[in-house]
Amino acid sequence: MNGDTSPDIAFEAHGVSRSFGATRALDTVDFDLRSGEIHALVGENGAGKTTLAKIVAGALRPDSGTLRLFGETYTPRRRSDGSAAGVAHVRQQLSLVRGLTVAQNIELGRPRALGDSGWRPWPRPFNARAARAEVERLAAELDLAVPADELVDGLPLAVRQQAEILISLAWGARLLILDEPSSALGPLETDALISLCLRLRDEGTPIIYISHRLPELARLADRLTVLRQGHVVTAGRDVHDADLRRIAELMIGDISLLDVERPALEPGEVRLDADGLHLAAEHGPGLRDVSLRVRAGEIVGVVGVAGNGQDELAGVLTGQMRPDAGTVCVDDIDVTGSPAAAIGAGVALLPEDRTAGLAADFSLAENLIARRVADSEFARLGVRLRKAVQRHARALAGRFDVRPPEPALRAGSLSGGNQQKLMAAREMERNPAVLVAAGPTKGLDPHAGRAIRDRCFEAAGRGGAVVIISADLDEVAELAQRVVVLSGGRVTDRFGVEEMTSARLGAVMAGLAWDPAGETGHPETGSGVPE
């Protein structure tokens, strides 16, 4: 113990810097976490949040600066040192091992006592019964439905996340770092996460909560620190006094995040007409009598908790899945169940999983001509015209602001936002008749998110029919004119975006009937907006 540190400070970083090559990810950063608080760490992608989190967790060593944990000097050399000292880092990419159960995961990599190298002359038996009992006891204590004996592969993301938090606590975590924990959760799951965090805080576990969803932080965090380009812009501000708009401005510097300018779009004739879609799915509800009609210049948001038929809808609309019943027509051409026909009719897809939409090991240039490899523009007698391909890549990457616009670069080496822009560049190079975008701005920083949003508006502005499938209500609110709610594979509500209230959405997304008592709204049939 050291006298000059107040005992209610759980963690403290002083003058911490860390560089990667020439990039200075953190520049003399000060940060402190009080015991019994949730401290939000916000900032754009690349602002240094994750670097700081990794330093706290022990996965990275700072180039300079000092750390103190629970009043003592803290110099972890690796992640396991951090776990042994009671720091748990729950990342976006969850680290439960597939092929093992939750109970088996609890034992895997469990921190050892200090000074124990882990070497044993004989293998240590794994006590399955004790591990299972531990999971069940903690699940009961935390009021979580985490099954001990199921393989983690089949568990929903939210449950896997809960399992990981549970395991952290079992390992003796006294400080939690949650990195973008809500980015893949639906609203109800996010609510559950927030109440779990509040409960843990009240029981004395301080939390560093990384997110760029400001409204969520307002419900949960006590204090807030803003990072921008490796610097602390605002340190430890009390959330309840803070002006969220001002925070958003601080985060990104110049542009305003919360007020999106929506271009005026005039809906024209129907371009996408999906009628009576049925699809039985192996997991989840599939699709049950889903109809969707989208006009030129119209952006329709499909909202719902993940796993309620969204993937199937995206698959069917783009021809990649064949529905058991129903048809999909684009400009009166039947494209049902045929990806080739859909592409021919001008259907573009931005899949939610970027790795599914890009060839990570191919260059930017190769990815950009992926739909048109045999075009006479790019190939003569089957030999690729390298110069033309490069020129095309440079022009397109420039137009869609892919950074860096270097044709020979591996697509996988781009940041998430730039991968998304690259994919958008390929898909929207020629004005698509129909654009299906699943979670298009998910996980992007406000800058990149804004760029992608503008592309969606542009696609609609040029007469395309745009479908945004997303669990992120803010994203839908910013983009869509009309909203369709998907629950249990059915369309349970339709309304204009101006009628979108959290109460209404919460009810219908949970599969409850919308009772507009006291609210203006249209029961059951929705608002009367045509399909």
């Binding site: 992640r79 396991s80 776990s83 990342r91 990419q93 969850l94 680290s95 439960l96 091992v97 597939r98 092929g99 093992l100 088996q104 995961n105 034992e107 895997l108 990599g109 469990r110 921190p111 293998p123 240590r124 038996p125 794994f126 399955a128």
Partner: protein
Amino acid sequence: MGKLAELTFWTATISGGLRLATPLIFASLGETIAQRAGVLNIGLEGYMIIGALTSLYVTVESGIAVGLLAGALSGAVLALLMVWLCVRLNANQVVVGFGLTILGVGLTGYIFRLTTPLGAERRQVNILGEIHIPGLSDIPFLGEAFLSNSWMTWLAFGLVPIVWWVAQRTVFGLEVRAVGEDPDAAFARGVDVIRVRSLATLLSGLLGGLGGAAITTALVGVFEPAITAGRGFIALIVIIMVRWSAWGVAVGSFAFGLADALGANLRNIVSDSVPTEALQMIPFFVALVILIIGARRARMPKSLGFNYVPDR
């Protein structure tokens, strides 16, 4: 053909099958651990043959116990190359594996030629005798067929539950499975992926070498070039057939051993009208069908054959 009905034919075939299964069991048990950890040792044949040569040469000088140990260690030395090239330096596992097989076969052939007088074709030691278990080994048929083995065979089958226990009931076994399934997540959990994979590969080398040693020192008593005759590859097939299960390895190896013994014994008794190759095939088919139907539950380690590169 009347001999087929005689009990002695089957007694000889079954005890021969157990004998021939012995090197396969050692090699496949080690390789099961390595593959569960995600490392595909196509060089298993190389581990075996180097173990076969080393153990015979050392046995001549220092006796069988030291000889077997030396055989196992020589396999591990070759596996160390695998660890260094693939687990540490991320070379392609298949390419290095074939390289190690060629290296093992070539090197042992070369050493054999260097140390053997011109004209001699083989090196010999006395093979292990059967252990006679009073009472049990005397049981008619059952005792003679199943319970009259050399202690090397007993050791091989005795290793089966131990390997099963390590894989299924210990923390090391969990780590092995974790790094073979999902090395990125395992690393994030705090498992030292490189260390676990290295250990698993070395175990495969040790047991592969011991399997080779079992051929020369315990079963045949002879070394000649290419004596392992592809048993390293058969072991790889056994593992896939029984889907990475230790108990399955015992059954699968016995099935192949039985097939070997049956083919050899049938050759002596059937008329020339039936090609011996055809006869040798029948039990293979039977074994295949039984095993494919029998062991469905386990699945292939997801990262088998893929190197782990931390923090890409």
